[in-house]
Assembly symmetry: C2
Homo-oligomer: 464 residues x 2
């Protein structure tokens, strides 16, 4: 078996070197361990037959045409920061790295747009945009993630309450189909009703429909002033009730997050975060709401911050803190790192279920019941403004864990939600998705997959 | 032939009465003339075999299951305000009216969302939302249009520069597939990466992929204060140069429109609009920029309006007028009615090409050249903030007209744009689309169409 595989791998390297310059190709044995998996909890790396790092859409096209002809699976890898196993290759396939397509091709200030290669990192783009007074306002937790990965998973993050998610900022892509055909969709415009929206269909498809080789991104003015308000509440219900009122105030919050007391404490222990909250407040507050406002005008920001602070006090906050800039930055950084806190504490699973934001207390209550019933431990934080709940699940027994996960997802769907708000299905949630989702939709998605990729070469075994 | 058709029609009425209550069904001869066409210029009405007005998704499902089994074309009709012939039925098919599904099912203030039937009109929804301080911020020119039609065409309008288009506000749909299967996509959440985004794929597909029977809409806070600034400029270049600067100012304009001098004059003549612009300004201004700002705070609005007015003066505006509320309303109303002005003046065609907004002057220049070269007359207005150009084409010779249209679309695409920004392809632009678009994309769209509708019963002859 092993020998056969080695032969297969040798053949594949040779074949790839015949369609792209040989320096793009890495033999199986030379691929670094780190490239064999993403950051999903409990994931195992898989060594593919070879890795290729094309430099252009033409090279991607050559690779896919060959793979399609030979039925070789192709898994695309960006920065590898995914949390669902979407970038884990097949043992009998190849890994296609976007690292060599990491140029910011254009920043177009007239149209407030950027055109980027898929390997460009969020922090790299942000650094280029800051001096121009522009921002690509999608900030998922991991700024070292690649734009290609963001497109593949429709990355979200904390600012979605104001700015929406990746889907709302990608106006077009250049993509290579499984056949090797290169298409461009959309463009530097927000409006279009010119046939089916292929951009939106490819977006969030986790590398199963096409390989994105360029993306056109909509940019926003970079507002220079921001303020952060932290409000401890007695419980989740109070936080959830406050959210629509803050939204309706017109203060246009950029971030609305909740953090439960356990997670805040863990952030303190693991990350050294100390916000100076008095012990008597900590003792009574079960849930914290974080509101971040931004503005072009410092005076307006001050007035709005004051207004939101007063509003939260009226809505029953135990106390309200307008955080000094340093503490605010630390809190948001710590919140972004919540996943790593969970990982450091040996969480067995993480979820990113999305529910209607008003359904969050019920979701949390039912999760609590489920936790006690199954002797599991579930805690977390999440995007209060958009109903995206991030929880860590601690349950050592794999069989019980699988049951807990399935029931968690089922509860989310029952409350009108979806299994994944932003991480994607990959392999980690695929089984639950196939089991819980409407079969008519699964079958329709499978027919769409066939329309793009009849030989199932693009990231097989993911999503569907 | 006629007799055969009549027999067919009788059979169809009988068949429909067997699957839905007979009061939902209208025989061919009894369908009002107005229901046989939409508002596209030069369109001819077509009388279908019958019309059915189902009251529920279950009834739509019964109709589609029957149609799919018999291979009968089904064309959906909302308010019939479309401009591309998308709602014109087939002579050998049936018309499915959404008029009996016109309930606002829910306005959910906790989640800032509304759930509506496809027959709900924009003005009906707006009337229900206003007292709640909420707005569905997509305002295409025609407020009597139906939400179902808005979803089918991904309706846009003037506020897209701030709020985006229908695509950015529809979070989920209930839809019936050609097979009669009822699916629900998305939900009351902004984020999701849970399989392919069927919502976005159905959106803008002009009734060719599924019949939408419910839509979940994202609402925004209704800002109470608005101000309108009108600035005459020497030409289109100056208008276009001013636009990104106004956007970058952080004043967050809701509307950024340009109107050419000919169209403004025609609005005066046809609609009686008089803005009191001095003759010497009219004599030198070839293009006008309209900026509308809105705010939750009157004082901030005043400051921003002042700021934008000063900015426009610095950017070379011949003069700047902050319009009194009545004149502002009249101007925006007149701008919304620009299509009717074109129709009243016997335009032979209208276009709604979208180009990158910075490419508008070049687009206009090349259109001018095309107009002189072909002895045509082309004038218009458009959404300066998003590059969506609305022009009327006057050219009496049908053969020359077809050539002019094709070249117009080709120029738009060459500049990185698309054939239709918001009206859709329907039948009016289908031929140009099929001729000018990348065949690889056309074929991919056709495979997607087959994935949804293998027997081609849903609005055949439209889009693809």
């Amino acid at each position: 078996m092993n020998e056969t595989k080695q032969d297969g791998a040798g053949d594949v390297v040779e074949a790839l070197c015949a369609v792209v310059p040989s320096e793009r190709v890495t033999a199986a044995a030379d691929i670094g361990e780190d490239l064999l998996h993403d950051e999903a909890i409990g994931i195992f790396g898989v060594r593919p037959l070879a890795m290729v790092a094309p430099q252009s859409s033409a090279e991607v096209a050559a690779v896919l045409a060959w793979a399609n002809g030979t039925g070789t699976p192709v898994t695309v890898r960006g920065a590898g920061t995914g949390l669902s196993g979407g970038a884990v290759p097949e043992a009998e396939g190849i890994l296609l790295s976007t690292d060599a397509m990491a140029d910011i091709i254009e920043i177009d200030t007239d149209n407030s747009m950027a055109v980027v290669g898929p390997g460009v990192r969020l922090d790299q783009l942000d650094e280029a945009l800051a001096p121009l007074g522009l921002v690509y306002p999608v900030f998922p937790g991991e700024y070292s993630s690649s734009l290609g990965g963001n497109v593949a998973t429709n990355a979200g993050g904390m600012r979605a309450v104001k700015y929406g998610v990746t889907r709302h900022h990608v106006l077009g892509v250049e993509a290579v189909l499984a056949s090797g055909e290169v298409i461009t969709t959309g463009g530097k415009f927000v409006k279009a009703t010119t046939g089916y929206d292929l951009t939106q269909l490819i977006l969030g498809s986790e590398g199963t429909l096409a390989v994105v080789t360029q993306a056109t991104l909509k940019l926003s003015p970079r507002l220079p002033h921001a303020a952060t308000v932290l409000a401890p509440f007695a419980g989740m219900e109070e936080v959830t009730e406050a959210v629509p009122k803050v939204v309706a105030s017109g203060a246009d919050p950029m971030i609305l997050e909740y953090i439960d007391m356990i997670t805040l404490a863990a952030m303190g222990t693991t990350l050294g975060l100390d916000l100076g909250i008095p012990q008597e407040v900590k003792d009574t507050a079960l849930a914290y709401l974080v509101v971040v406002l931004e503005s072009a005008h410092e005076d307006r920001l001050e007035a709005d911050t004051q207004g939101v602070a007063e509003q939260l006090a009226e809505l029953g906050a135990i106390d309200v803190y307008v955080l000094p800039p340093k503490a605010a930055t630390e809190l948001i950084d710590a919140r972004e790192k919540a996943f790593w806190v969970a990982k450091a504490n040996n969480a067995n699973e993480i979820i990113d279920v999305v529910v209607p934001r008003s359904a969050m207390p019920e979701f949390m209550n039912r999760i609590s019941e489920l936790a006690s019933e199954t002797a599991s431990w579930i805690a977390g934080c999440g995007h209060a403004g958009d109903g995206n709940v991030h929880m860590s699940v601690f349950q050592g027994d794999p069989e019980v864990l699988a049951d807990v996960m399935k029931r968690l997802y089922a509860i989310g769907m029952e409350l009108g939600g979806a299994i994944s708000g932003e991480h994607g299905l990959g392999t980690a949630k695929r089984g639950y998705f196939l089991e819980l989702e409407d079969p008519a939709k699964i079958e329709l998605m499978r027919r769409i997959k066939v329309a793009f990729d009849p030989n199932d070469i693009l990231n097989p075994g993911k999503v569907l």
